[in-house]
């Protein structure tokens, strides 16, 4: 299971039946939240939804980013990027700051707002099933093979060949391959992703890098700052001492000259 896994969602094939939605609910023991899968929204009780945009159906779920923002921002390391690709959450570590929700570029993590001991909730890429060599519940349930599960590299090849072999059918772009430094969920579309209101403004650079550029300066700030401040303290105090000494010297000289009877100062 060391190979990286991924999910490929082919929008040209999706018929909006909601089988993935139902399968996910069952697999994760989630209560019913809506009678119509096309009307539901992601929540602490719904990890995947299908949205209708024009003639097309779009599945929404955690992208299991390669360099996940949620993993990077969590102060207590409650999120983990597993070797095989899934991004998992450990409720025993979480302290509920909700930075993961703030940071996720896809607005995926959901909170149990109604609970007194709330958890962050999201798709877990069917960890229990994949562990045992099974595909994710949503992929298995899909009657149209619009969602398929497999090795990441193979799925990328599959997506590429679908675009190559049917240029009329596909918009030539694999969404998710390079967004925010790459993810584990890829989308193929018949029309441009902008038209389907996908978030196409996302940088290709992994988002945690933006933070790291600032964070990595900390050792410099601490050391240079320490030297600078202590040095400045030493400088300003030295100045005062010199001023004091000079002042005293002058006093002495004045009194000396006075004893010598020189009265030029008083003139």
């Amino acid at each position: 299971m060391n190979k990286k896994k991924a999910i490929l969602i082919d929008i040209t094939r999706c018929i909006g039946c909601g089988a993935c939605y139902e399968a996910c609910k069952e697999q994760n023991h989630l209560p019913e939240t809506s009678s119509d899968p096309l009307r539901d929204t992601l929540s602490d009780k719904t990890f995947t939804i299908i949205e209708q945009r024009g003639d097309y159906f779009i599945r929404k779920m955690c992208q299991h980013c390669d360099k996940p923002s949620c993993v990077s921002v969590c102060p207590v390391g409650a999120f983990e990027k597993t070797e095989w690709g899934a991004v998992l959450y450990d409720e025993d570590k979480c302290m509920g700051c909700r930075y993961c929700m703030q940071a996720c570029p896809y607005q995926i993590p959901r909170y149990e707002w109604g609970e007194l001991n709330p958890r962050v909730q999201k798709c877990v890429m069917c960890y229990d099933r994949v562990k045992n060599g099974l595909p994710t519940a949503c992929a298995e349930a899909c009657p149209a093979e619009a969602t398929i599960f497999g090795d990441r590299e193979e799925l990328i090849k599959e997506a590429e060949s679908r675009i190559r072999d049917n240029p009329d059918r596909y918009y030539p772009y694999i969404y998710g391959l390079n967004e925010v430094g790459g993810t584990s969920v890829f989308y193929l579309s018949p029309v441009s992703f902008e038209e389907l209101k996908f978030n196409t403004n996302l940088p290709k650079k992994a988002l945690p890098n933006f933070t790291w550029e600032a964070l990595s300066k900390i050792p410099t700030i601490v050391t240079v700052g320490g030297v600078f401040l202590t040095g400045f303290y030493w400088l300003t105090n030295r100045k005062n001492e010199i001023a004091k000494e000079r002042f005293q010297d002058e006093q002495e000289e004045i009194s000396k000259s006075k004893t010598e009877g020189d009265i030029t100062d008083e003139k």
Partner: protein, 392 residues
């Protein structure tokens, strides 16, 4: 006259009591019914008023502590020493309240200690947590002489005085780090923030605005506590701080506009959108007006003028933090967030507690020094000995 002042007192006491009762009830509800029941937060808007105001603004407003410590101890401008105690007291209280607010906002407040043992050095939040914790400890030590004096623990007092400089250096560094890191928190959401506020310079903006608002708070508080406690305003002192504000705000605004220019965002300044208006409001109130006011010597050296300039800086600062944390995030969110009654009540509760505790401490401990100037013989930066002679 006498009646009047009694009425005034009871009126404010009444207001405070009301705040405490309503706020206390809100906090009670939050712990018994959960965050969802009392806040307007949602999955699309997971940080609201409590993070934006109680934490971001709270930490910034307490920046006077490290700014003044640096001025007095590092840059050795000793004449500001008389106002250092009230400033440290405010900073210390400010940080305690920030931690209190955090305990209300966290979903699992009892797990707050996890940040101590479960490390994630890639997280800005992790860094902020450590800095705030360490700096609050530093502030406690810096504040402790006030208590030690009261209880005549002179030995301990001596120990604390001996480590003043290391404490101050640590405090300044820790503050620089977390004041700027509060801005770094937002670096990771380039696509979720309005471009007028998103910038790779966010940490520097946060730091510079914290320094200027820290200075403004020193002026503001000196003025208010002079009034409230019937003391003389250390006016000759605080008016000089006005010039520091001009420098900090000047650097801040130049950076801000240069970056907008570099990033090709200047055209956004001419758009007619809610964001653009709020941006201009923030910049005009918090930067342009105070700079203009403070440059004019007559205004800077006038009590009301100085106080008003400080108030503008503070107002602009609050607007900026709210814009960063709420307005800019609102742009790309389909959820409209406005704080709930309980959220506002909780925030007012925290502010009220701060004011009450400040009053109590000032009344019972020697926070304001009685003889402000005389102990400072020879301690000015003077290179010429004759000058020193004149000053004394």
């Amino acid at each position: 006259m006498k009646n009047n002042s009694i009425f005034k007192l009871t009126f404010w006491k009444g207001v405070a009591l009301l705040m405490l009762v309503i706020g206390g009830y809100s906090i009670f509800l939050r712990y018994t019914k959960g965050l969802g029941a009392v806040t307007n937060l949602s999955d699309q808007f997971s940080w609201g008023l409590w993070i934006g105001f109680d934490i971001l603004c709270g930490v910034g407003l307490a920046a006077g502590g490290f700014t003044l410590c640096a001025i007095v101890y590092i840059f050795n401008i000793k004449r500001f020493k008389p106002i250092i105690r009230p400033t440290i007291l405010t900073a210390f209280l400010g940080y305690l309240l920030v931690i209190f607010a955090l305990l209300i906002d966290l979903g699992r407040p009892w797990a707050i200690w996890h940040a101590l043992v479960m490390w994630n050095p890639h997280s800005v939040m992790f860094e902020v947590a450590w800095c705030v914790m360490l700096y609050t400890t530093v502030l406690f030590f810096e504040f402790s002489p006030i208590i030690l004096e009261k209880f005549k623990l002179y030995k301990l007092l001596k120990v604390i005085k001996a480590i003043t400089i290391p404490l101050v250096v640590a405090g300044v560094i820790l503050s620089t780090l977390h004041q700027s890191s509060l801005g770094s928190l937002y670096l990771i959401v380039p696509a979720k923030m309005h471009p007028l506020w998103y910038s790779s310079w966010l940490p520097v903006y946060f730091f510079l605005s914290a320094v200027s608002v820290g200075c403004a708070m020193i002026i503001f508080e000196s003025y208010l506590s002079a009034k409230a406690f019937n003391r003389q305003l250390e006016f000759s002192l605080v008016k000089d701080i006005g010039r520091w504000i001009v420098v900090a705000l000047g650097a801040y605004s130049v950076l801000k506009f240069m970056d907008l220019l570099h990033e090709g965002k200047l055209k956004l300044l001419l758009e007619s959108s809610e964001e653009t208006y709020l941006f201009w409001l923030e910049v005009i109130v918090g930067i342009f007006i105070p700079i203009i006011l403070l440059i004019v010597r007559k205004i800077r050296e006038n009590r009301i003028g100085l106080f008003a300039s400080a108030a503008f800086v503070i107002g602009g600062f609050l607007l900026n933090r709210m814009n960063v944390s709420i307005t800019s995030i609102q742009t790309f969110s389909d959820y409209y967030y406005f704080p709930s009654f309980y959220e506002i009540a909780t925030t007012l509760f925290i502010v009220t507690v701060g004011i009450i505790v400040f009053n109590l401490i000032v009344k019972n401990f020697k926070v304001f020094e009685e003889v402000p100037v005389h102990e400072n013989k020879f301690k000015y930066i003077v290179i010429d000995g004759r000058e020193a002679l004149k000053e004394n």
